[in-house]
């Protein structure tokens, strides 16, 4: 069962189309990493899922319920954390907790206390006196304490130091595993998300480029280094037009590197062997999520093969 279902979703800010016919789904229990460059529409997409915006067209449903029809009781099952989310700065953290707790049947006081300790938050401090990172921790605490079935996080690691990020990621992994939570998160911190996620989606210029399990993405995108015996080899020449599935191509003399995009079921090894035969020394590995992300978004923005100084 999919906890999130998005179909042909379009959203416009005036004349600017922020999301264009987006389709994707998030299975129950998945830790879904939504990646995308600035302005790609990630925040808008998550806001639509949280019911904060209404799409111009298309369908969005959460836990089988269209977002526009979500009732108060349904919202109790969704946690939402976002960078820039306005917490009531005049309240102390414990007052925020006291305000929110009666709204949720599932509010877990002991989890709230535990998170407070783990995040090293002082519940007696007013929210406006907290640092940016501390405010994000407070927001996370408020979103996690009700034990939501779906947790939507928009840049949850903003302002956090590495130790806290690690603790958070570990905590989320534990909780998600034990509680069966579904987590949908977007962040610029691809490294952290790679640790966290078992599904990944890449949104670029309002269009969903990839939405697949992390394992599949690792299998489909390979980082390939090719060393030719001579810089006169056809693929090493400047006028060589790389195939469409060569992404993020870089050349340096007789050395060419790129991210190879394979279709599901295609064998990268066979493709490389067919392309180069024995004329070159080829090293191939699974591309990192960062390499895949950069390759896909650079291709969309028209990035030409780059010459790298030897």
């Amino acid at each position: 069962m999919n906890v999130v279902e998005i179909s042909q979703l379009t959203y416009r800010y005036g004349r600017v189309t922020a999301l264009r016919h987006v389709d994707f789904s998030v299975p129950q229990g998945a830790l879904y990493a939504l990646l995308g460059p600035n302005g790609s529409g990630k925040t808008t997409l998550l806001q639509i899922l949280a019911g904060l915006r209404r799409a111009d067209s298309g369908r969005a449903s959460v836990m089988g319920i269209p977002v526009a029809s979500l009732r108060t009781a349904d919202r109790r099952r969704i946690g939402y954390v976002a960078e820039g989310q306005l917490l009531p700065g005049w309240m102390r953290l414990r007052e925020v907790e006291a305000y929110l707790a009666p709204l949720y049947d599932t509010w877990d006081e002991s989890l709230a206390r535990e998170l407070c300790e783990r995040f090293e938050l002082d519940p007696t401090r007013k929210i406006r006196t907290l640092s940016r990172g501390e405010q994000m921790k407070a927001a996370l605490l408020c979103a996690l304490a009700p034990r939501p079935e779906l947790l939507v996080m928009d840049e949850p690691f903003t302002g956090m130091d590495a130790l806290v990020k690690d603790a958070l990621v570990r905590g989320l992994l534990e909780s998600a595993g034990s509680e069966g939570w579904t987590v949908l998160a977007c962040s610029h911190d691809i490294g952290e998300l790679e640790l966290l996620a078992d599904w990944v989606g890449i949104l670029d210029h309002g269009e969903m480029r990839v939405s697949e399990p992390m394992d599949v993405v690792r299998e489909r995108f390979k980082h390939v280094d090719v060393m030719f015996s001579s810089d006169r080899a056809p693929a090493a020449r400047r006028d060589f037009l790389p195939p469409n599935n060569w992404l993020s191509v870089e050349r340096s003399g007789s050395h060419v590197s790129f991210v190879l995009s394979c279709a599901v079921g295609e064998s990268a090894e066979q493709m490389i062997a067919a392309q180069f035969g024995g004329e070159a020394q080829v090293e191939m590995r699974n591309a990192t999520l960062r390499e895949t992300f950069v390759a896909l978004t650079k291709q969309r923005s028209g990035g030409a093969p780059q010459e790298v100084a030897a």
Partner: protein, 527 residues
């Protein structure tokens, strides 16, 4: 949590959020109401030991009411923006809160605290004028309605803006624009005749009620959809404009239902000394209008005059501005049979002067054969309003008025009384000089032990201030400071010659309340 408990939950949070503003609001209201109840706000006051100012203290009757509504706007905006309906980053938006419950909590707080608290303060203040239930209810209802309109407009602006600073900027811009537009409208239309009359007032009331309901619907839409699109801006702008302009353009005079106009007996019109006199361009027509009644005070307000000339032409027109009315007054009842020290019944005659224009002058110069005068007679019945001891500082409250003697002196040939009358019977505070609009006041010095009385009248140095405000700018009070003297010119010997008369005397105030009106006319034929 069900809907009602959610509403209360959000409201309780908002009360904690705005408690400083709320406390300041209560302090403002308490200060204003207390200053009115104590009489300090309405003056007269003494800035220095030797200087007396005949007027209210502006701080209490202008600036604090203004501060009250400005703080009210800020409170309404703070309440709305604490859980903004249009900001996707708003804290409440991703919580399991019903949008309608959040809106209901905002509306409840605005209309229960921001509106009701000043009304409560005003109620206390009006009680100090002995305002009756009907007067109090109508005054407070009007104030609540107008303030509610302004606050609804403020809530819409707050919903469409992101923070308090933007709200204040937008509000200032709206007020400046409203002032400019209203100024332009008042320059282009000399009178607001189109708005006069009960029908116009009703239409205006309906339009404003629709705008108010539209404002509530818009807020509900914004809280539900969280969309701030062009259509919501346009809708918000239109509703705000109607609410602001509607409340300002409200013709208050049209809201007081006038007495029904019936037909009455014909008017006697008699010549005075001469029908025409003077040079061309200053020809005047003078007629006398005798008005008689044994128990009622009659007032004639002329509105048409038709003049027939010896040339056979007819000059006639509607009299637009009536500079004076003609009173046929009788001596007022003062609660006991008394002997009037000297006859001060005002003349039962009056004169109506008709200024001829350049076109009419040649025809009138040939001679006038007849003058027909038409107008409305209003009959007033007396009511004993108040009786207070004849001494400095004496105060009496009655039927929406507070009367205070702030000076009394007498000699053998005259007596001087200084009386402050603060009047809330009009609501807008727009009172005629010396004659509060609730009715015509008449002042009598009465010595009950000796069963003697004499009328006192205005001295030329009388003074009026206002209109001022009580608690809110829509609750007006007119404040007059009148120097009364005994009108005993030529009869000084008839005045009391001993101090004891004045020591035992009281000031009795009689209010002449309009009872009926009738249209009448009369014709005078010149010899």
């Amino acid at each position: 949590m069900n809907w009602i408990t959610q509403t209360g939950h959000v409201a309780a949070k908002d009360v904690r959020h705005t408690w400083v503003q709320l406390a300041a609001y209560i302090v403002l209201l308490t200060t204003t109401a207390a200053s009115v109840v104590s009489g300090r706000a309405l003056g007269p006051y003494w800035p220095t030991s030797s200087t007396q100012v005949l007027g209210a203290i502006d701080v209490f009757v202008i600036y604090l009411p203004l501060c009250t509504i400005l703080l009210g706007f800020v409170m309404a905006a703070s309440l709305v923006q604490a859980d903004s309906p249009t900001r996707a980053t708003a804290f409440w938006a991703s919580r399991p809160l019903s949008p309608s419950a959040v809106l209901a909590s905002k509306l409840a707080l605005v209309f229960v605290t921001v509106v009701a608290l000043p009304l409560l303060a005003a109620l206390v203040a009006l009680r100090s004028f002995d305002a009756g239930a009907s007067l109090t209810a109508s005054t407070l209802t009007h104030a609540a309605f107008v303030y509610g309109e302004w606050l609804m407009a403020a809530m819409i602006v707050a919903a469409l803006t992101d923070d308090l600073r933007t709200f204040i900027g937008a509000t200032v811009a709206i007020l400046v624009a409203a002032a400019i537009v209203l100024g332009a409208l008042s320059d282009s239309t000399p009178t607001n005749a189109a708005l006069d009359g009960g029908a116009a007032a009703l239409v205006l009331d309906i339009v404003q009620a629709v705008a108010f309901a539209g404002g509530a619907v818009l807020l509900a839409y914004l809280y539900r959809t969280r969309q701030r699109r062009r259509s919501t801006w346009v809708g918000g702008g239109i509703i705000t404009a109607v609410l602001v302009f509607g409340s300002v353009a409200s013709p208050s005079e049209a809201r007081s239902a006038p007495l029904a106009l019936s037909d009455g007996p014909p008017l006697e019109v008699a010549p005075v000394d001469s029908v025409t006199s003077g040079q061309p361009r200053s020809v005047q027509v003078e007629v006398a209008v005798p008005l008689r009644s044994d128990a009622l005070r009659l007032e004639f307000r002329p509105d048409t005059m038709r003049i027939e000339t010896r040339q056979g032409t007819e000059i006639g027109r509607r009299i637009g501005i009536v500079s004076r009315t003609i009173d046929g007054s009788v001596l007022p009842p003062v609660g006991q049979p008394v002997r009037w020290l000297f006859d001060q019944a005002t003349s039962a005659h009056g004169r109506v002067t008709y200024m001829l224009d350049a076109v009419e002058e040649p025809a009138a110069a040939s001679g006038i054969t007849s003058v027909t005068l038409g107008g409305v007679v209003t009959a007033y019945r007396p009511h004993l309003l108040a009786s207070l001891p004849l001494r400095d500082g004496a105060v009496a409250m009655s039927r929406g008025r507070r009367l205070r003697i702030y000076g009394f002196d007498h000699g053998r040939s005259s007596a001087d009384l200084y009386l402050q009358v603060s009047d809330v019977t009009n609501g807008t505070g727009d009172s005629g000089f010396g004659i509060p609009t609730g009715g015509i006041l008449q002042f009598v010095l009465v010595n009950s032990a000796r069963s003697e009385a004499m009328l006192i009248g205005n001295a030329p140095s009388s003074n009026a201030s206002g209109p001022d405000w009580i608690v809110l700018p829509w609750i007006g009070v007119s404040n007059t400071f009148t120097h009364f003297v005994t009108n005993a010119s030529g009869h000084e010997m008839l005045l009391p010659q001993d101090d004891a008369w004045y020591r035992g005397a009281r000031l009795v105030v009689v209010e002449w309340v309009a009872e009926s009106r009738y249209r009448t006319s009369g014709k005078m034929v010149t010899p």
